[in-house]
Each structure stands twice: as structure tokens, then as C-alpha cells.
Symmetry: C2
Subunit: 311 residues, 2 copies
């Protein structure tokens, strides 16, 4: 039997998986991300965990097809990472470094792009060959997969759809330094921002008006209960995201958008707000694009990392 | 010696080229596009022209690597065309039909996409591997090429960037049926529209105020002469196009944008208006994207069609 090791490197934990080359997940585990000393322990820790698992399972080097890894930074096709602020990393070649540490073949991708590949391979995008995955979490991540291949971009900025400019009038600054990015309105924190702005606009009664530490979940729970003000917020969310995805479709015309991340826990109702605005604003040849919810949750990264090796 | 036939099918003429498989253009010629009888004569006419050229040059079937053709409609990877209103065509498989008529291997692409491939292979995008080509003509066409391959999209609508929605307040309807498409402001007719709107806004003196049948060329000629009002129009043009391309870059992060079509005859000055807005609105990882002028003019289509076969 041949094996693949899959690694999803995050700022707090490293999620790891052992797959058969046929694609079955045999086992998964986590190790801590040790960010001390500019993150210089991270790849050695990952290599040690892989070698340890190989010893435990009596897996020979020749039985391992490779190691796929998703990392939280911009990555070029050749494995160069252009810095990962969360880890303390600068610019170096992750592929060559991890190959040196493990003695195994390594393929590297950006974490959001790799998660997109995972959702297409084994999750909400299963059965499609070209998707755009949108992760609505603390920020807004994206991954573009065309004909089964990640579009990583000239500087690893392919799929950075969270930073599509959507509003000239924004006064607050996005994490990226620009103003008016998609992420500022449609991430979990963005939805709360939209809700607070709406609440402040007038005194309209709403079940979310007196909630302390309002969350995105509170807003969509209220939407489901018919709270008018919350529905207005969801409409605004859907207008901003649906219009931005309409623009994305005019560029790559994917078969489907796969929507994941914490915000997507609101479920199918979320898609209705997005999709009706998408249909209004996109090119007629793109109107029938499918909208699906992501289904792998935190496992999308390891499935995608495994798929990097299966390609 | 092995040969490639290249065909750029337009609504008025069919441009044809004979290439060596190494990529040299040996000869080019045109035939009329006969749109009678729902365009049913077009492919037989093309086949007859190819067979005639083969007889004239004593080229054997076995010496022909294939026929590449760009067609004015949405095309799937398998050669299905989803209608071409300009030609009277409905939905059918262009590849299989032309293969049947010529006895030669055929590859098909959308005309704008194929022209983009041509510009990357032999024109303004030479040396790059991933570009977005933008053709500012009567309309606004686009072509996305990633790692040397056209992104044709699920419904052949990849690269339809002329129909990116850019203005919610537009009252006039675009050719596609939507309102507020990029094409309505940045095509040759779009620039004239922007100029007329600016002229109507007040009585500011301008060298273009009394020109009858104002053209896009008049506007950019006046820009070069320092006409303030025309410069305002060019700024607005650059704001709209630069911002839209900033959004495109967040999706596919190309190495370069290659700008062609009639509007691009204004020259390098055009790029300055676009690029400064692009830099303002795009993600920081995309700011160093190159901007180039297309250089093949009307030959881009046959170069790209030949490249379809060279791949």
C-alpha cells in the first residue's frame, strides 16, 4: 500500500493526516505550532511527526508517494513562500526545506487554495472540475481551481477575493491596508459590522438590538426567526458578496461557488441571499453557476494537501 | 516541413494564416464571411480555402499538424459553440464539423481568448506565461491565459471582463442586457459616452466641445494636447478600468495585463491612466503586475489559433 502525508499548517496547530494514495483518510492528528525563533521549529516538528508516524506504522520511505502541505502565506508554484507573518516566516523555499528534513517528495500550496482543492475533491464541490471556494471566517479567503488545478497566481495572490475592492466610501482600514475590501463586510466580523451600522442608523426594533458581544451567528439566527432588521443586514451582505462573485464569474466562469467558513454555518439560507444578487449582476452566460456549502470544515486543508500529491 | 492552418472567424471576414509548426507565419489571406442560410456556408468555405491552399502549395494531409480556429461566441473546451449571434449560428460542435469537412485535426477557441493567447505567444505579452488580455474595441473583450492555457470557463464565459458590473446607477442598457457593465464606459463607444456626459455637465471650454461625430481618438488626441476636460474623461476611464482590473487581479493574479483594441492606439499614455488606479485598488500582492500594449493588431487571432495547435 502507498501512503500520502497531508499537512495543514495553521497559526496555532498543525493538522496532519495519513491518507492512502487512493484518497482514504486513515488517521488524523494535530501538533502545536511552535512559533518561537521566527518559526524555525515548525518544519522540523512536522518532519519529526511524519517520521514518527512512519516508524509507528512501519511505513517505508518507498511506500510514501509524498507530503502535501498547505501554508498560511503566498506561495509560488515552485514552493517559494513569500512570507507568512502569522508564523514569523520570511521568504524561503518550503518544498526544498521540508524535502531535506523528511527525505520525501513535497508539494506546497497556500492554505486557502489547498482547502479549496480539498472541498472540490472530497467536499461541497465534489463532482466539479472548476470551482471558486470562498471561506467566510475571521477574514475572507478564496481559492480558484480550474480544470482541477489551483490558480496560485504570479505572486501567490490568486484567489485573494477577500480583497476585491467593493466600496469607495469606506473609512475604516482593512487588515491588508486598503479600504473597502470584500472582507470588511462579509467575514464573520464584517457581518457584525454591517449589523452594528444598521442598528446605529435608527431606532428600529430588533431582537438583536440588545445583545452584548453580538456575533454573526446571532444575526443569522435572527434572520431565521424573521427579524426584519437582521434580514436587511443579510440582504446587504448578499448584495455585496453576490455582486463581487458576479465579477469573479466574469473572469473565470467556474462551474460552482463553494461557500465555507464560520459564516456558512447559517446554512442554505445564506446561499439564497448571495445567489439572487449574483444572478442580477453577472453576465448572462454565468447565471446558472451553482452555489454549494462547503462540507469538510477543518478537514478541507488535509484533503486538499493530500490531493496535491494525488495529482 | 509541418504546417498549421490558423483561422480567425469574424462577422465580415475570415482571416487565415499558414504557419510552420515552429511558429513562423508563412502567408496570410482573407475570405468573406458568408452569413446567408444561418451561416451554414462558413465552415465549408473555410475548409475549401484550406484545401485549396494545400493544393496550391503541394501540402499533404500528413504534413498538417492541425487547424486552429477562433470563433465569435462562447466555446467549451470540447469544441461546442453555444451560439454565435453575429454568424447566425446556434449550438453545435465546431471541432467535429470542421474536422469532417477538412479531414484535419481541429482545435477551437473563443475569438477573444484565442487573440489573448496570440498576444502572449508572439505579441505584447511575449515572455509571460499568465496574462489577462483586454481588448478595448467596439465592445470590451477579454482573455485569461494561465500557465499558457486559455481559461474558457464552464459555459465559455471565461474572460468576459467587459461585462463586469461596475456601476449600480447606470440607466442605459448594455448589449448583454445588463446595466453598468465595464464595456459601457471603456470601449471606444464607451469613452465617447463618458466624454459626452462630461461635456453636458457644464460649459467648461474644451477642444473637443465642437467636434461633430466625436471619436475615442479625438478624446485621447486632446488629452495629449493637454485639454483639461479630456484629461478628466481619461481619468474617469482609468478609474473605472483600473478598478475593475484590480478586482480581476484578486482572482487570478496574472503576470501582466495586455491592453489592445482600437482604444489602445492612444499608446502608452493610456496605460498610465489605468495603472495608477489599478495600484490604488488592488491587493498589495498584485501591485507590481505589468501593463503592456498589445502589438499584433488584427493578426493576434491567427497567431493564437496557430498556438492552439502548437500546445
Amino acid at each position: 500500500m502507498a501512503y500520502i502525508f497531508a499537512v495543514d499548517l495553521g497559526g496555532t496547530t498543525v493538522k496532519m493526516g495519513l491518507f492512502e494514495t487512493a484518497g482514504n483518510l486513515l488517521e488524523k492528528w494535530e501538533i502545536d505550532t511552535n512559533k518561537e525563533d521566527q518559526g524555525s521549529h515548525i518544519l522540523p516538528d512536522i518532519a519529526a511527526s511524519i517520521r514518527g508516524k512512519m516508524t509507528e506504522k512501519s511505513i517505508k520511505d518507498s511506500d510514501v508517494a509524498g507530503v502535501g502541505i498547505g501554508v498560511p502565506g503566498a506561495v509560488r508554484d515552485n514552493g517559494d513562500i513569500l512570507g507568512a507573518a502569522n508564523l514569523g516566516w520570511g521568504t524561503f523555499n518550503v518544498k526544498e526545506t521540508l524535502e531535506g528534513l523528511t527525505g520525501l517528495k513535497v508539494k506546497v500550496g497556500n492554505d486557502a487554495n489547498v482547502a479549496a482543492l480539498g472541498e472540490m475533491y472530497a467536499g461541497g464541490g465534489k463532482g466539479y472540475n472548476s470551482i471558486v471556494a470562498v471561506t467566510l471566517g475571521t477574514g475572507v479567503g478564496g481559492g480558484v481551481v480550474i480544470d482541477g488545478k489551483i490558480v496560485c497566481g504570479a505572486n501567490g495572490a490568486g484567489g485573494e477575493i477577500g480583497h476585491i475592492h467593493v466600496d469607495d466610501d469606506e473609512t475604516e482600514v482593512c487588515g491588508c491596508g486598503n479600504k473597502g475590501c470584500l472582507e470588511q463586510y462579509t467575514s464573520a466580523t464584517g457581518v457584525v459590522r454591517l449589523a452594528k451600522r444598521r442598528l446605529a442608523a435608527d431606532d428600529k426594533a430588533s431582537s438583536i438590538r440588545n445583545i452584548k458581544n453580538l456575533t454573526c451567528k446571532d444575526v443569522f439566527d435572527a434572520v431565521k426567526e424573521g427579524d426584519e432588521l437582521s434580514i436587511e443586514v443579510a440582504e446587504k451582505f448578499g448584495y455585496i458578496l453576490g455582486k463581487a462573485l458576479a465579477q469573479v464569474a466574469c473572469v473565470v466562469n467556474p462551474e460552482a461557488f463553494v461557500i465555507g467558513g464560520g459564516v456558512s454555518k447559517a446554512g442554505e439560507i445564506l446561499l439564497t441571499f448571495i445567489q439572487k444578487n449574483f444572478v442580477t449582476y453577472t453576465f448572462n452566460g454565468c447565471r446558472n453557476t451553482d452555489f454549494k456549502l462547503a462540507s469538510l470544515g477543518n478537514d478541507a486543508g488535509i484533503y486538499g494537501a493530500a490531493k496535491l500529491i494525488m495529482e
